[in-house]
């Protein structure tokens, strides 16, 4: 298939990538941009590990082709912290509440929770659970993850 050259706006930087039209955004981010924090755990849109923000909205980057993301502002897990060793409020809450063990689902969860709590800063318990139910974790039983969300809510938001 003919490759296309795209300009992707990722974490505030414009990247030129040349990919086949069938290449997913997830693969383009990982293989072409070197942003390996976006993980693939099902590649059929159920587990949420590959969640990124597209113009601020959480999407599953395994279900988006790279060519569809041209022109949008893409934020990956690497774009949520300032790269100075400090953590975002959501990331800090995950650490405080033991919201991760193996860490593989974690970037997707952090991105999803950040988007959820930016949009809905004070969800009910049910809204919170439903809002996070599109991400799978096999290690934590979700206890620490829900705890992290509650900490962020009580502390005043995802930032």
């Amino acid at each position: 298939m003919d490759e296309q050259t795209l300009r992707l706006n990722v974490n505030g930087e414009v990247r030129r990538v040349t990919v086949e039209p069938r290449v997913t955004l997830a693969d383009a981010l990982r293989d072409e941009c070197g942003l390996t924090g976006t993980h693939l755990a099902c590649e059929h849109g159920v587990c949420g590990a590959c969640t990124v923000l597209l113009d601020g909205e959480a999407v599953r980057s395994c279900l988006v082709f790279a060519v569809q993301a041209e022109g949008a502002a893409i934020t990956t897990i690497e774009g949520l912290s300032p790269s100075d060793g400090s953590l975002s409020p959501v990331q800090q809450a995950f650490r405080d509440c033991h919201g991760l063990q193996c860490g593989f689902c974690t970037p997707g969860f952090v991105v999803s929770m950040t988007a959820l709590l930016r949009e809905q800063p004070n969800p009910s318990d049910e809204e919170l659970r439903v809002g996070l139910s599109g991400n799978l974790c096999r290690c934590t039983g979700y206890q620490g993850i829900l705890g992290a969300a509650r900490q962020v809510i009580e502390a005043g938001g995802a930032g």
Binding site: E20, R22, V23, R30, D31, L35, T36, G37, T38, H39, L40, A41, C42, E43, H44, V46, C47, A49, T76, I77, E78, L80, S81, G85, L87, Q91, F94, R95, D96, H98, L100, Q101, C102, G103, F104, C105, T106, P107, V110, L128, R129, V130, L132, S133, G134, N135, L136, C137, R138, C139, T140, G141, Y142, Q143, G144, I145, L146
Partner: protein, 787 residues
């Protein structure tokens, strides 16, 4: 941020040390939270080519032909290998745990002559990227003559054979010598009950599937392997056998691993093919499996059924129990064929005084995905026994709590010798039972339950008691080693052969070492995964790291401290026995101002060997290999689940979930509770949602996360953890607890459902208990109820 400042004193329990017992926040987290983890899929080597497998879509059949011409011709495809290419010369596939002599089916890297399950490997395509490798797979023409598949327990007597070379589908049988005394009890007891309990076939579902990057350098003659594994040194040993290479020419570099739960303890045929492909090509070959491959071919578990016959007297004292296990192994079980029955037989009497006991077992091959360990591989013993306790209680008209109280092992019974000959030394089954039932308010709940029933709401409560044989210390698994080096600046590196992949050893081992060496937590770094740097270890699994790795770290830290003392004494002009250490300093007892820092000691030890006292060698390192005092370090737990069943829809809502855990001294209570929660939710999935079903033709029916239902945030209750702390005899008083959460939760949930539906006469024996299964059971009970 200082990590020491992260230690949350609010969680201190028992005060075993300055850091041990604290919920120290994890070292692992910052990199994993910011997308800077380094999983095998993230590793980049120059010139890497990518592999994809062509897998059989027929469960059992004869391979008539495989034509790879078109695939080989596809631009970007670098190699296509079938059995004829890779199998000749490949070494054996056995695991180090099972060894070469364990009974095992004939095995091969790629299917040759016939296919044995859907997902069996027909060919490996290596190309410039994964997309092209999959294109190559699509171009391979395969002709398979399908034969009737062998599925289900009928395999035992089936004429069709999974492995024709063996002449039978029965992998092993476990028999008991005749016991007339037991038979007499079963013939004469006031109550004799028999039930068969079946588990749904499950799979581990680590969020990161399997993956391997293999890089053979034909000139350095070194195979470098980047695995997703629980046991880097097992990868090294397996690779060495497969490629007939001396072990020192295999270098394993394991970084972050996205979960395993037993699935990644051992190498599989798939990984063997990637190694063989790299060996042939002389290039780095990377294979990252997709979820479909993980679900259908990455090892499954739990397809067990146990028949329990229990004899009780009039008052509900258990007099005798007989168990029979039917275990489905799939095609190529790991590690070897007889793991589950042996442990199940040892453990089946659980935390009760069971009287006479006997167990038999049959394990059989089927044309399905291989069986491998999954968190508590022997869990059927607890799952069947705990359900049987509730069945017996109802039969006798006793509350299930009361029946347990009449039979549970208490402190005055210790040490208690099991029917299997093993002995419990330090357990607290009765205390954990009391703790959860008191926390719930058992009697008050029974009142609420009665009121709810009058309103047509079906509440239930279920218990699951388990004794976990943690830190299994047999053979290779019996010991671990720690190498500790203090560098010239006084900082400490701990090297171990573990395979922590979510277990938090980067945090917990430094907690242990800091306490025993007398330094700050921040001064200790833990490293694993590099087989050239770390001592041999059997990896992380079997709930063994806290006890065995923790013990090794304790001994090594003590030895290093013993080297610091004479050096400090010499520099401080005092006697060795008058030296104390704390806060990375050595000082004269009673005179803290006469001190020397670890940094100064280390500088002297390395850079000024002539200043050392006689008999003290230059440098500062220590090494220790530790084996715990017994074959098992018993931990125990009691789980309690409260549920409500909607009898119209068959849906189950879990309203409360309580766990009382005794894992001895907790190194890090936050980590302990994380392990409990993860295990419990896997157990909930096991009962309510997850089923790796096969049809009669051997087709797997769950090939995506839309069919294989892992619990999400909307299905899990809040898990309330409570602790009893009876220190073990192992160093530090630790007990392992990584598996118990998944062992005790299935019966707690199932018993809660059975309790809720008891007034309807519903009998619960088989998992999963999804809405359709429960509706069918309720309808059936309603139909047979007297009008």
């Amino acid at each position: 941020m200082s990590t020491t400042a992260d230690a949350d004193a609010g969680h201190a329990t028992g005060g075993a040390g300055r850091f041990v017992g604290q919920s120290v926040k994890r070292r692992e987290d910052p990199r994993l939270l910011t997308g800077r983890g380094n999983y095998v899929g993230d590793v980049l080597l120059p010139g890497t080519v990518h592999a994809a497998f062509l897998r059989s879509d027929v469960a059992r059949g004869r391979i008539v032909s495989i034509d790879t011409t078109a695939a080989r011709a596809l631009p970007g495809v670098r190699a296509v290998y079938t059995a004829a290419d890779l199998n000749p010369g490949a070494g054996p596939l056995w695991t180090t745990t099972s060894g070469p002599d364990e009974a095992a089916p004939p095995d091969r890297p790629l299917a040759e002559g016939d296919v044995k399950f859907v997902g069996d490997l027909l060919a490996i395509v290596v190309a410039d990227n994964r997309y092209l490798a999959e294109d190559g797979c699509d171009l391979i023409e395969v002709d398979i003559e399908a034969l009737p598949a062998v599925v289900g327990p009928g395999a035992v007597d089936a004429a069709d054979l999974v492995h024709p070379e063996l002449g039978t589908n029965v992998a092993y049988t476990m028999t008991e010598a005749p016991d007339p005394e037991l038979d007499e009890i079963l013939a004469s007891a006031a109550h004799v009950l028999t039930r068969t309990f079946k588990m749904a076939r499950n799979t581990n579902v680590p969020m990161e599937g399997r993956g391997l990057l293999a890089s053979w350098d034909p000139y350095a003659r070194t195979m470098t392997v980047y695995p997703s594994s629980q046991s880097p040194h097992e990868i090294k040993a397996f690779t060495s056998r497969l490629l007939a290479l001396p072990q020192h020419q295999v270098h394993v570099l394991m970084a972050d691993v996205g979960g395993g739960f037993g699935q990644k303890m051992y190498m599989t045929r798939d990984e063997a093919c990637v190694l063989l492909a790299s060996y042939r090509l002389g290039k780095p070959v990377k294979w990252i499996e997709d979820r479909r491959e993980n679900l259908i071919a990455a090892n499954q578990a739990r397809a067990d059924a146990m028949t329990v016959t229990m004899a009780l007297d009039e008052e509900g004292h258990i007099l005798a129990t007989k168990c029979h296990l039917m275990e489905e192994l799939g095609t190529y079980p790991l590690p070897g064929t007889n793991g589950t029955a042996m442990l199940s037989a040892m453990m089946s009497s659980g935390p009760y005084k069971m009287g006479k006991f006997a167990m038999t077992a049959v394990a059989y091959y089927t044309n399905t995905c291989p069986k491998a360990p999954f968190r508590g591989p022997w869990a059927i013993e607890t799952i069947a026994r705990e359900q049987m306790m509730d069945v017996a209680a109802r039969e006798l008209g006793l509350d299930p709590l009361e029946l347990r109280l009449r039979n549970v092992v208490r402190q005055e019974d210790l040490p208690y010798t099991l029917p299997s000959g093993l002995a419990y030394d330090i357990v607290s089954a009765h205390e954990t039972l009391e703790q959860v039932t008191n926390e719930l308010g058992w009697e008050a709940f029974r009142g609420r339950q009665r009121e709810a029933r009058e309103q047509g709401r079906y509440l239930g409560v279920g218990l699951g008691l388990c004794i976990e044989p943690s830190a299994v210390a047999f053979g290779l698994l019996a010991s671990e080693q720690a190498t500790i080096r203090m560098d010239i600046s006084g900082k400490v590196l701990v090297l171990m052969g573990t395979g922590s992949h979510g277990h938090s050893l980067e945090t917990t081992i430094p907690q242990v070492v800091a306490d025993h060496l007398g330094c700050s937590f921040d001064d200790v770094i833990f490293s694993q995964g590099d087989t050239d740097a770390t001592p041999y270890g059997a990896g992380t699994g079997g709930s063994r790291s806290a006890v065995i790795a923790g013990g090794a770290a304790t001994v090594a830290a003590g030895r290093l401290k013993e080297k610091l003392l004479p050096l400090a004494a010499h520099l401080l002009e005092a006697a060795s026995e008058d030296i104390e250490v704390a806060d990375s300093k050595a000082f004269v007892r009673g005179t803290p101002s006469r001190s020397v820092s670890f940094s100064e000691l280390a500088t002297t030890a390395y850079a000024d060997p002539f200043a050392l006292p006689p008999g003290v060698e230059a440098g500062l390192s220590a090494d220790a290999r530790y084996a715990p005092p017994g074959p098992f370090t018993w931990s125990n737990a009691c789980h309690l689940c409260v549920c409500q069943v909607d009898i119209e829809t068959g849906s189950v809502a879990l309203e409360r979930y309580l766990v009382s855990e005794d894992c001895g001294v907790m190194i890090n209570p936050m980590v302990v509770e994380g392990q409990i929660a993860g295990g419990v939710v896997q157990g909930i999935g096991n009962v309510l949602y997850e089923e790796m079903a096969y049809d009669g033709a051997g087709n797997p029916l769950a090939t995506t996360f839309l069919d294989y239902l892992v619990p999400t945030t909307t299905e899990v209750p809040t898990i309330e953890c409570f602790h009893i702390e009876t220190p073990s005899n192992a160093l530090g008083g630790y007990k392992g607890m990584g598996e118990g959460g998944a062992i005790a939760s299935p019966p707690a949930v199932a018993n809660a459902i059975a309790d809720a539906l008891a007034p309807l006469g519903v009998s619960i024996t088989d998992f999963p208990l999804g809405p359709s299964q429960l509706r069918a059971l309720i309808r059936q009970a309603q139909a047979s109820a007297p009008a």
